[in-house]
Amino acid sequence: MNIKLLGALAALTLLGACGSGTDTAGAAGGGAATTASGPRPGSQEDLVANVGDRVLFDTDRSSVRADQRAILERQAAWLGRYPQVQVAVEGHADERGTREYNLALGQRRANAARDVLVAGGVASARIATISYGKDRPAALGSDETAWAQNRRAVTVVR
């Protein structure tokens, strides 16, 4: 019953977005289904809003930065609360490299993030990894600000 209601609300939200002529990019899953009561516990929206779904990397590096480690540790604790949740860690690179090398670099970043989750007690069988290299940027600009956001590993609920 609750799920049906949420679905109806989400549909209304989308209709509203269409009516106002804006593109809210529902496919990005950025929280279109949130309600006054907050995101559904254990969902991607919950992860984004209350934990943080991504960690950033330095140029051409794949070791988890000291200032990013806590985010992965919070993710591990969150995954501990929702043992039924399976995730994929998606590794990415900025556009200032070649495609094939960046595929490998993105994979290495995804693995580095996965290792921290596993060290935090998450069973490795729950975590898939995938690399998109430089081919799915989060920020679309061509400057250092955008590149810093694109060198990332994103944890996605499957």
Partner: protein, 452 residues
């Protein structure tokens, strides 16, 4: 398929998609050598002046076909940068008269050093094209060939003739009867659709090979040009696949536990070398196509990517960060004896070995700029051919004289406006860079071998 009335001294059959083309030497062809010795090096500074009048034909269909074939030949020659087609407005003799007997004085006076003439016969859906190449100064015929083919194959006839002209006048094989496979890109960059597509080297006969329901990257031709190896995100599992160009069938090749990518065929066509990421590293493997048996060629924690065989199959050039940053290495085809060959300023990537064996082309990233360059296989003689904000992925034309690659422009704003990705080609001497026209944004070009 024989040609009545002609003493056939030589006959070639060019098979390919859409029916075979039969080429026979015309009897008058004496195969004289050009009196003026021209080679590619000289033609770069002094392009060969050539007159390419319409081919003659009886009736409107044959005339239209004759005009179109001549236009394709002329465009091929001009685009190579090694020929300078003479302005058609200046022609004195009519194509009809020239096809009967060239009046050499008429062609000499307008500055043509070489002349092509031809005659087209169209009957039903068959086409017969007689083609002759003349050396204007000594008034000699250099070549005479008749092509018989289904009418739908007229562009291939034009490309085959272009290759004959290139080879007879420059003494090297041409690259016009070839195709380009590449990735067609559309949509915003964070949700880009990437489809494998194929076209003739001049951009014609364009078709999509995949439907965009999964991301396709880095296609590369099999030595027979009937198959392509590429990376596919089908079912969100990035793996190397084989795509059969005759049947359209796709099958996974690199399925051993993690991401497989950056495939290249062995020159014998029986195996593929690729990279596989099983942990945080990436290592190079060869996979036998028949047995699917894999063989690991590199090991260790580094990122070893973009392997490419030497044309004799004995060596592999690849890209590795084993020394700290991305550099080029050459090792034996069984994986031993890797030695670094790139020592210039910056990071080096995407090496490809020339089909001639004499050069390796690469991408260099240095000082915030990307460049396409070439060096000898021992790392000496490095030259940067083109530089810009971003460019990568060089691929050699089968004669090793031209490179295709892709070039990107930066986004002007935070929404990605102004970003583009397009194909270019450039002579390996670093001149005659030309944009290649595609219906959408494009990346990852791969040049086919000669189709015939």
């Amino acid at each position: 398929m024989t040609l009545p009335g002609f003493g056939i001294s030589r006959r070639h059959v060019f098979a390919g998609a859409g029916g075979s083309i039969v080429a026979s030497l015309l009897p008058e062809a004496v195969l004289a050598q050009p009196t003026t010795v021209i080679d590619v090096t000289r033609a770069r500074t002094d392009p060969v002046p050539i007159a390419v009048p319409d081919m003659a034909g009886a009736g409107p269909d044959a005339q239209r076909m004759g005009r179109q074939i001549a236009q394709v030949i002329q465009a091929n020659l001009r685009n190579s940068g090694l020929f300078r087609p003479v302005d058609r407005q200046a022609f004195i003799q009519t194509p009809e008269a020239a096809a009967a007997t060239p009046r050499f004085q008429d062609w000499r006076v307008i500055g043509a050093q070489a002349l092509t003439t031809g005659r087209v016969e169209a009957s039903g859906d068959r086409l017969r094209v007689e083609f002759r190449l003349w050396d204007v100064l000594p008034e000699q015929q250099l070549q005479g060939t008749a092509f018989t083919a289904p009418a739908a194959q007229w562009r291939r006839i034009a490309h085959l003739i272009s290759d004959v002209i290139y080879e007879r006048l420059l003494g090297e094989k041409g690259y016009f009867d070839t195709q380009i496979v590449y990735i067609a890109e559309s949509g915003p960059r964070d949700r880009r659709t990437r489809r494998m597509a194929m076209m003739d080297q001049d951009g014609e006969n364009h078709r999509f090979l995949t439907d965009g329901s999964f991301q396709a990257l880095t296609p590369r031709f099999h030595p027979t040009a009937r198959q392509v190896a590429f990376m596919s995100y089908f079912r969100n599992e990035p793996r190397v696949y084989l795509f059969n160009l005759d049947s359209g069938q796709q099958q996974v090749l690199g399925s051993f536990g993690g991401m497989t990518f950056s495939p290249r065929f062995h020159p014998d066509g029986r195996s593929v070398v690729l990279s596989a990421s099983r942990g945080g590293d990436a290592n190079i493997y060869s996979v036998d196509i028949g047995s699917r048996r894999e063989r690991q060629l590199t090991s260790g924690g580094s990122l070893d990517v973009s392997p490419c065989y030497s044309p004799d199959g004995t060596q592999i050039v690849f890209n590795s960060d084993r020394g700290g940053d991305q550099q080029l290495y050459v090792m034996s085809a069984d994986g031993g004896g890797a030695r670094r060959i790139s020592f210039g300023n910056g990071r080096y990537a995407t090496p490809v070995w020339s089909p001639r064996g004499d050069l390796i082309a690469f991408t260099r990233i240095s000082g915030g700029q990307f460049g396409i360059g070439v060096m000898r296989p021992d790392g000496s003689g490095e030259r940067i051919l083109s530089e810009g904000w971003a460019m990568e992925g060089p691929t050699f034309a089968p004669n090793g004289r031209v490179l295709a690659f892709y070039r990107e422009t930066p986004a002007r704003d935070a929404r990605g406006g102004g970003y583009s990705s397009t194909l270019s080609q450039i002579d390996i001497a670093g001149f005659n860079e030309r944009r290649m026209v595609t219906p959408t944004d494009a990346s990852d070009p791969a040049w086919s071998p000669l189709l015939s």
